[in-house]
């Protein structure tokens, strides 16, 4: 049984034409067109675009680098990386924070924007959530593999044992373990719950036995009864509520990895809000990066409209300004705090051996995103894509700049330098490969956009419910 009964083909469709004041859905859409537009990709009705193959093969190739990189790493130890004294954390942690940051937009879109009655989220939430999951998977690799003895990673979790040994609860890394695992579980649950009605659609429209069985199992017996809908909506709302604090908590706690330490310029109270803003900034850049190919390859321009790109760009601009304020605040506090270590480290950060990375960060994260003030940069896909790319680079370098702060801390005798090795890069680009592979497979086999919610978004006249059923119509 389908979620929404499609009008029989051929019969006159009275509610075919409607106007979308909010420009969230383009073209002439109805329940059927939306279902087919999204569902047919999964069911293999749409020829696989060339772009998809490029994405998948690139990702899969890079994934091999990850496998090889990990094998070598586990065989020899973290010494294969460029880590040294004083830089005991390298690009592994940069990548961890970078990926975790990217993940944030998904939860923000699906949970917070839902609660905030932002209808435009509907076109983005499914693939943004997938992005979150895959990004957190990529992120999750790094803290694990960067350990000296990764096979003992479970010691970070409290588990009953005969020596009554708990983790050390004062350590941010311990909080990290909780925060990231909670975040991942809730995101996964949220994502899967949202998918269930769509799975049912795919099951019902399956073109082959295999599709029917697989999607059927995933649909977990969804029949679209009122009771199902009721429970679904309740649960969805609950998870949105649960997910909302996680958007803030995870990156706040990740920022504690730095802020709780006494390393100059790490030890700063600005870090939690600064990191959260940076995460959303990076996340929306990634949403833009993923939305544009989806629009193109799968002709989703009607479902992901210019309006969406415009909104994403504006959020990116806003959070980008917050992040830039963070940069300013760091420098100001170091100056005003009058601590020799803070201020010297700031000068080192700006004009020391790694000064180039600081200025690159300012360029890519603060200056280039200012172009978004121009409407052209918000609506022109190519330009927006480039600006979002700049943010990706910038956000990576933001964490890199934080990490290389370790090169020059309190005692000058220990000052050193740090450069990643080929094995650092293997794992770094390999994780990107993992992300691309997973996302490509997602695009092909799972509904990229939520069929259910997109249908709900249709005006009542078009058979929809004029917004989120969970929010707008739950009164």
């Amino acid at each position: 049984m389908a979620t929404v009964t499609a009008p029989a083909t051929g019969s006159p469709v009275e509610h075919e034409i409607f106007t979308d004041d909010e420009h969230l859905i383009g073209g002439k859409q109805n329940l059927v067109t939306i279902g087919e537009k999204i569902g047919n990709v999964c069911l293999g009705e749409v020829p696989t675009p060339k772009g998809w193959w490029i994405m998948f093969l690139t990702g899969f190739t890079l994934l091999q680098a990850l496998v090889i990189g990990l094998c070598w790493l586990f065989y020899l130890g973290t010494g294969v990386w460029g880590l040294n004294s004083p830089v005991f954390w390298g690009v592994a942690i940069v990548n961890f924070v970078w990926w975790i940051g990217i993940g944030h937009a998904g939860t923000l879109i699906s949970a917070i924007l839902l609660l905030m009655h932002q209808k435009w989220r509907t076109s983005l939430n499914r693939f943004a959530e997938s992005m979150t999951l895959f990004a957190v998977m990529c992120a999750g690799i790094f803290p694990l593999i960067h350990m000296g003895r990764p096979w003992l990673a479970y010691w970070l979790f409290p588990f009953p044992n005969n020596i009554a040994m708990w983790p050390q609860f004062r350590s941010p890394l311990c909080w990290d373990a909780f925060a990231v695992s909670t975040y991942f579980s809730v995101s996964l649950l949220f994502w899967f719950i949202g998918l269930i009605p769509d799975f049912a659609y795919l099951r019902d429209h399956a073109k082959s036995k295999i599709q029917q069985v697989v999607y059927g199992m995933l649909a977990m017996g969804w029949r679209g009864s009122a009771m199902h809908w009721r429970r679904y909506e309740k649960l969805y709302l609950l998870l949105a509520g649960l997910g909302t604090p996680l958007v803030f908590s995870v990156h706040t706690i990740v920022s504690f990895d730095f802020a709780v330490s006494i390393v100059p310029l790490w030890h700063a109270t600005i870090f939690p809000p600064f990191f959260v803003a940076g995460a959303i900034f990076a996340g929306f850049a990634m949403v833009i990066w993923l939305a544009i190919p989806i629009r193109h390859w799968y002709g989703m321009k009607d479902l992901i409209t210019e309006k969406h790109l415009d909104v994403c760009a504006k959020i990116m601009l806003g959070t980008g300004l917050l992040v830039s304020y963070g940069y300013f605040s760091e420098v100001w506090m170091a100056f005003y705090g009058h601590s020799v270590y803070e201020w010297d480290t700031t000068l080192q950060r700006m004009f020391g051996p790694y000064g180039w990375s600081y200025w690159l960060l300012i360029l890519t994260n603060t200056i280039i995103p200012q172009l978004i003030w121009f409407k052209k940069f918000r609506t022109n896909e190519l330009l927006l894509f480039l600006v979002a790319g700049s943010v990706h680079i910038g956000m990576w370098f933001e964490r890199y700049v934080i990490i290389v702060t370790l090169t020059r801390d309190h005692v000058p005798s220990s000052w050193g330098r740090y450069a990643p090795t080929i094995w650092d890069y293997a794992v770094m680009f390999g994780s990107m490969g993992l992300f691309l592979t997973l996302f490509a497979l997602f695009m092909r086999f799972l509904p990229m956009l939520s069929i259910t919610e997109m249908r709900e978004l249709l005006p009542r006249a078009a058979g929809g419910r004029d917004g989120h059923a969970v929010m707008e119509n739950a009164k």
Partner: protein, 1179 residues
């Protein structure tokens, strides 16, 4: 469970028996079915393994292989203990208790001069060298080379057998050959026999046997050659006093010490002892406790001037240092002699204005009647200079005041007719080479030296050696020499043989063998074989001292005398006889008076040769500990770059740049230069050292060995080819141009552990001057106290201005300081426990014994991190602390290598070091400062600093700072560890739990001192076949890959002492004290010494219990109850150090409360030299 064999199978027994019955057990047991059953305990399961592939097997196998791949499956050490063999003693050897180490006194020699040591052995396996407190050359301390010798003993690449022309041979054949040599030489009176060895002591068995041999073969010659020769020293004395004498310095007496390139550690014959004496005058104690002399009062602080071309440890601790070219130093000595009033001083060469100013100021200081001055000069300087220095010492009264005395020569043969040949080792070697070339040498026996590598290049010793028909080499390794000799005998290490050796003052020590790993033979055995004596080395050594015993008419019988001598490590009454020298006995010889003025050409560069600070003349090339030890000052390891000043580097167009990987903390890219002297060339990388004399290239010889083990192969560069008999120590006239000293296009990667030279305005290594200190002090009731009320620190030792607002609090929180003690007694202290009965500060401690109440201070801040309340009596009451006196630290690195030996610290190799990884738990930070930085307090632009240094390296000051784990009470590392792998112990140690560590490395990031070390890959050697395993300390865990490690305050030593003390609770010999935890046995002061503390030649490290002064000694009265027997115990040494106003905590402003604290160096600059130079600053 059903047995899994086929009941229908045919039985193997007699026929006719039904299958379900059997006659005997044997019948069943013999059946193949039964055997199969026995093989497979669980036959049903086992059968699965034989199936092609089952689901179960697949899962098992894949599970196992995943586990193997993910865990360190390839790591043999993970084998369960049950699979390793543990075999008990059947008959327990005498005196060996498993787990209890024994210490054997013996001696280690270098250049024929001994340092007495105690060798720690566990279950018959020597593992660590400590100094012998009874030995005058050691006084309990050791140096870098002595500490590292342990690794050489177990070097798996040592020579393990005897060879004749490269073929394996036996000791019997050697003996036969040696006998044949003597037999054939008897007729020629030994004219064709030559023995080449290192110098030996006059009273040693070696010298005695040599004398015997010479009596038999009078024409035989014994050549004593040493690359780091002391010819000029000996000749200088002869010129001055007409005969060979050994000068003995007493630096304890020296108020003014002028060191003319006389670095004790690389130059001296008594480096350890001299360092101790000289530095005892550099440890300023305002609260100097008269009963226990930790140091000297401010007035007694000595003043050290260093004139040198290299930058040495001596220059580093000096109050003033003047970098000069070697030729200028020769002139400087002449001018100085003239200035102090020596007559007939030969003419000096040109000297800079600054140097002339120095001459005047130094001479004035030396002539000061009220002070004892002494001048020392390095063995690299000419006989003339040595002669002049003796004249200066005579003139300024150093001899009459006892700062210099002379004894009968300690070296062998220096008294007899061979004296000149014996004194002039290089000359004798040259003569030997000439004879070898002339075919006059039939047999050459080379004992424990490697002349093919170390001989001056112009001798071409290797070529000459090939002309000798019969040559015998005995040595620890197969080396450049053994490759060219007919015979090679695997020599013993000094810890493997009986022998004897003399200290710098003649004091003899019997060397005992502690093991003999490879059945090696000693030099003594070769001499015994030559002399054809049937006795063993032991009895020969005993004979030597039996004769001595008889000659000295010693009252006790010989056996007791021998036993006591061996046991003490010192033979009584062997110190060389003092020679009466009166003022004015000294003379300037004719040659001295007539010697031409040293030629100095302003534009010329001069080469300076010095032995490598860690590899010495090359003999330690295969010692990984020494190779990886950063050389003092340059902090380069695994190499011997040419050292130049920044200005000279510019002249040579050479640069140092730092790599992106590791950079300043590991990897530097430098230029190589090619130095040509006549037709001899050497290509060496260049390393820039601020403060080095301009136009000087310092070359350390000893590296670049070719025939050596894997460790030393290809390490460094051989600069011996540049050294010739004419110019052993310096070569002048070098120009920065092709054919002389030219930069090549080659780049080279150096491993240096500190490229950052400046303190950047942060003052980690603090220092002040005597004047500054005096200004802040006043005398009150016979005590020196701070002049400003409420202030307890010298301003130069205080926290930096950045944290000025909180500095009182920070000082209060520094464990062991007066403020902390007041705070602990304060009523507002969160732990009311302290409020009662705690009245304790430095001014009242004399009287406080009267109030030995029940409640005493105990640091309750250090409650263990557990929710389970501990029983009061289970808690520890001791507070371990350490203080390091920067005034006395000479940056020699002995502490670092002692720590390596004690704590099983692995050697990583150059590649890892260039990746910024090094494992030493204690490092010596070395900073340079220029006056414009005001001793490091001001931040200076790097470019500007470089310009200042390039303009005048003379003004560059050095600062040393040993940095072990600071054992913070509020340790930043502990807070951030997610698995509680680094935690605090109740007695205040910051413990590292290796097997709990998962390797997140957060602790190391958060350690502001960067003293944590990480096993990035598997560094520890688990190779069970390697003899290197034997050197490991069984009390210290070997760290596996992926775990953090760091200094533990030698926790194994602390715990061992605690166990010992608690075990002796009922032993009346062990003192008992009343503590907050009840009556406990006392660990006496000095009972625990950390490895670094024990090794430190200048006693700059103190370690002990900060709470000792809280204990009241008790004894049982008649009723069997504990009653106080006296006042509280005195402050422990470390507590006394921490009460000093110069005490400060490194980065204490971060509120880490470091248990290790530093005493700011107090310098004693001459105001005249400062004023004249127009340079202020903090000295």
């Amino acid at each position: 469970m059903a047995l899994d064999f086929d009941p229908n199978a045919e039985s193997n027994g007699a026929g006719g028996i039904p299958d379900d019955q059997f006659q005997s057990l044997e019948q069943v047991f013999g059946s193949p079915e039964f055997e199969r059953m026995m093989k497979d305990e669980f036959p049903e399961d086992a059968a699965e393994w034989l199936d092609p592939v089952t689901r179960r097997r697949f899962l098992t196998l894949s599970g196992a292989s995943v586990a193997l791949a993910a865990a360190a499956g390839c790591n043999p050490s993970l084998k369960p203990a049950s699979q390793k063999k543990i075999i008990p003693y059947v008959k327990k050897p005498e005196a060996i208790v498993p787990g209890v180490p024994l210490f054997f006194p013996t001696a280690l020699t270098l250049g024929g001069v001994a340092v007495g040591v105690l060798v720690k052995t566990v279950e018959g396996r020597p593992i660590k060298v400590e100094g012998n407190p009874a030995h005058p050359g050691s006084l309990g301390s050791t140096d870098v080379l002595a500490q590292a010798t342990m690794l050489s003993v177990y070097d798996p690449e040592r020579s393990k057998g005897i060879t004749e022309k490269g073929q394996p041979s036996t000791w019997d054949k050697v003996q036969t050959a040696l006998k044949a040599v003597v037999d054939s030489q008897v007729s020629k009176k030994g004219a064709g026999l030559r023995i080449l060895s290192e110098p030996a002591g006059s009273k040693t068995t070696f010298a005695g046997l040599m004398a015997d041999l010479k009596a038999k073969l009078p024409e035989m010659k014994w050549i004593q050659y040493e690359a780091v020769g002391t010819e000029n020293v000996l000749a200088g004395v002869r010129e001055a006093y007409g005969k060979y004498l050994t000068p003995i310095f007493d630096f304890k007496k020296a108020d003014t010490l002028v060191s003319i390139d006389a670095d004790f550690l690389t130059n001296g014959i008594a480096g350890i002892r001299y360092t101790r004496d000289a530095m005892s005058r550099r440890k300023v104690r305002v609260h100097a406790d008269s009963r226990r002399a930790d140091g000297v009062s401010l007035e007694k602080l000595s003043r050290i001037y260093a004139v040198e071309s290299n930058v040495t440890s001596m220059g580093g601790v000096a109050d003033h240092r003047l970098p000069l070219k070697p030729s200028e130093i020769e002139s400087f000595v002449r001018e100085l002699a003239k200035a102090v009033g020596v007559q007939n001083v030969p003419a000096a060469g040109p000297l800079s204005e600054r140097a002339k100013e120095w001459v005047a100021v130094v001479a004035e200081d030396l002539k000061d009647e009220k002070k004892t001055g002494v001048v020392t000069i390095g063995n690299a300087y000419s006989v003339v200079a040595h002669n002049l220095v003796h004249a200066i010492n005579d003139k300024i009264g150093a001899v009459t005041k006892g700062a210099v005395s002379f004894v009968e020569p300690v070296g062998a043969e220096l008294a007899g007719k061979n004296a000149d040949a014996a004194a002039n080792g290089t000359g004798s070697l040259a003569e030997l080479t000439a004879e070898m070339n002339a075919g006059k040498v039939d047999t050459l026996i080379i004992l424990n030296c490697n002349p093919v590598f170390t001989a001056p290049a112009d001798l071409k010793f290797g070529a000459a050696l090939q002309k000798v028909p019969n040559s015998i080499h005995l040595g620890l390794y197969l080396d450049e020499t053994s490759a060219l000799t007919t015979w090679h005998i695997n020599g013993t290490h000094e810890l493997e043989t009986w022998g004897d050796a003399q200290a710098y003052d003649g004091t003899a020590t019997v060397q005992q063998p502690l093991l003999n790993l490879y059945g090696s033979h000693s030099a003594l055995e070769v001499l015994v074989a030559l002399a054809d004596k049937p006795s063993s080395a032991e009895s020969i050594v005993q004979d030597t001292w039996r004769k001595f015993h008889a000659a000295q008419k010693i009252a006790v019988d010989f056996d007791l005398f021998w036993h006591k001598s061996v046991e003490r490590g010192v033979i009584e009454g062997t110190e060389a006889k003092a020679v009466e020298i009166k003022a004015g006995d000294v003379k300037l010889s004719d040659t001295t008076q007539k010697s031409p003025a040293p030629a100095t050409k302003a534009s010329d560069i001069e080469l300076v040769f010095r032995p490598d600070p860690t590899i010495y003349d090359g003999r330690f090339a295969n010692n990984g500990w020494l190779q990886e030890l950063p050389k003092p000052i340059s902090l380069v390891c695994w190499d011997n770059p040419a050292l130049v000043s920044p200005a000279t580097a510019e002249r040579l167009k050479c640069e140092v740049s730092y790599a992106w990987t590791a950079g300043e903390h590991g990897q530097s890219h430098v230029d190589k230069i090619e130095i040509t002297i006549e037709d001899r060339k050497a290509r060496v990388p260049v390393w820039v050292v601020p403060g080095l004399a301009d136009d000087v290239i310092v070359l350390h010889f000893g590296l670049g060995r070719e025939i050596v083990g894997e460790v030393g192969k290809g390490v460094g560069f051989n600069v011996y080819p540049l050294r010739s008999t004419k110019a052993l120590w310096t070569v002048g006239g070098i120009k920065p141009e092709p054919g002389s000293a030219e930069r090549t296009q080659e780049k080279y990667t150096l491993a240096s552990t500190q490229g950052q030279h400046a303190m950047e305005g942060r003052r980690p290594a603090r220092h002040g001057t005597k004047e500054q200190a005096a200004k802040e002090l006043k005398s009150e009731h016979g005590h020196m106290v701070m002049a400003v009320h409420g202030k307890d620190a010298f301003s130069f030792a205080d926290n930096p201005p950045a944290s000025a607002a909180e500095k009182d609090l920070m000082r209060a929180l520094l464990p062991g300081t007066p403020k902390e003690r007041e705070w602990m007694a304060d009523e507002h202290h969160p732990q009311k426990f302290f409020a009662k009965g705690f009245k304790n500060n430095i001014h009242t401690h004399e009287e406080e014994g009267e109030e030995g109440g029940d409640h005493h201070a105990h640091d309750k801040r250090l409650l263990p991190l557990t929710l389970i309340q501990d029983h009061e009596h289970n808690k520890l009451y001791r507070r371990w602390g350490m203080a390091i006196d920067l005034g006395a630290c000479i940056g020699c690195n002995a502490c670092a290598i002692a720590c390596v030996a004690e704590n099983n610290i692995p050697v990583l190799g150059k590649t890892e070091v260039t990746r910024g990884r090094i494992m030493h738990w204690i490092r010596i930070d070395r900073y340079f400062s220029v006056p414009e930085e005001h001793g490091g307090t001001q931040r200076m632009d790097a470019k500007e600093r470089a310009e200042v240094i390039a303009k005048s390296t003379a003004e560059v000051k050095l600062h040393f700072q040993p940095v072990p784990c600071q054992q913070c009470e509020k340790a930043p590392c502990e807070l951030v560890c997610p698995v509680a792998a680094t935690v605090h112990s109740a007695d205040g140690l910051n413990d590292m739990v290796y097997n709990r560590c998962v390797g997140t490395r957060y602790c190391a990031n958060n350690c502001p001192y960067k003293v944590r070390r990480f096993n990035f890959v598997q560094y520890a050697n688990y190779d069970k076949e390697s003899t290197l395993q034997l050197v490991n300390n069984p009390e210290v865990t070997m760290r596996t890959r992926g775990v953090m490690e760091k200094c533990t305050y030698c926790v194994q030593r602390i715990r061992a002492a605690e166990i010992e003390a608690e075990r002796e609770h009922d032993n009346p010999a062990r003192r008992k004290v009343q503590t907050p935890m009840g009556v406990r046995p006392l660990i006496e002061e000095g009972e625990i010494k950390t490895a670094c503390q024990a090794a430190c030649p200048s006693n700059a490290i103190s370690f002990g219990d900060l709470n000792q002064d809280q204990y009241v000694p008790v004894a049982k009265d008649a009723k069997g109850e504990w009653k106080p027997t006296g006042r509280r115990l005195p402050f422990s040494e470390v507590a006394r150090w921490k009460l000093e106003p110069s005490n400060y905590g490194l980065l204490a402003e971060l509120n880490t409360m470091p248990r290790t604290s530093y005493l700011a160096a107090i310098k004693n600059p001459n105001p005249k030299l400062l004023a004249d130079a127009g340079k202020g600053g903090h000295g």
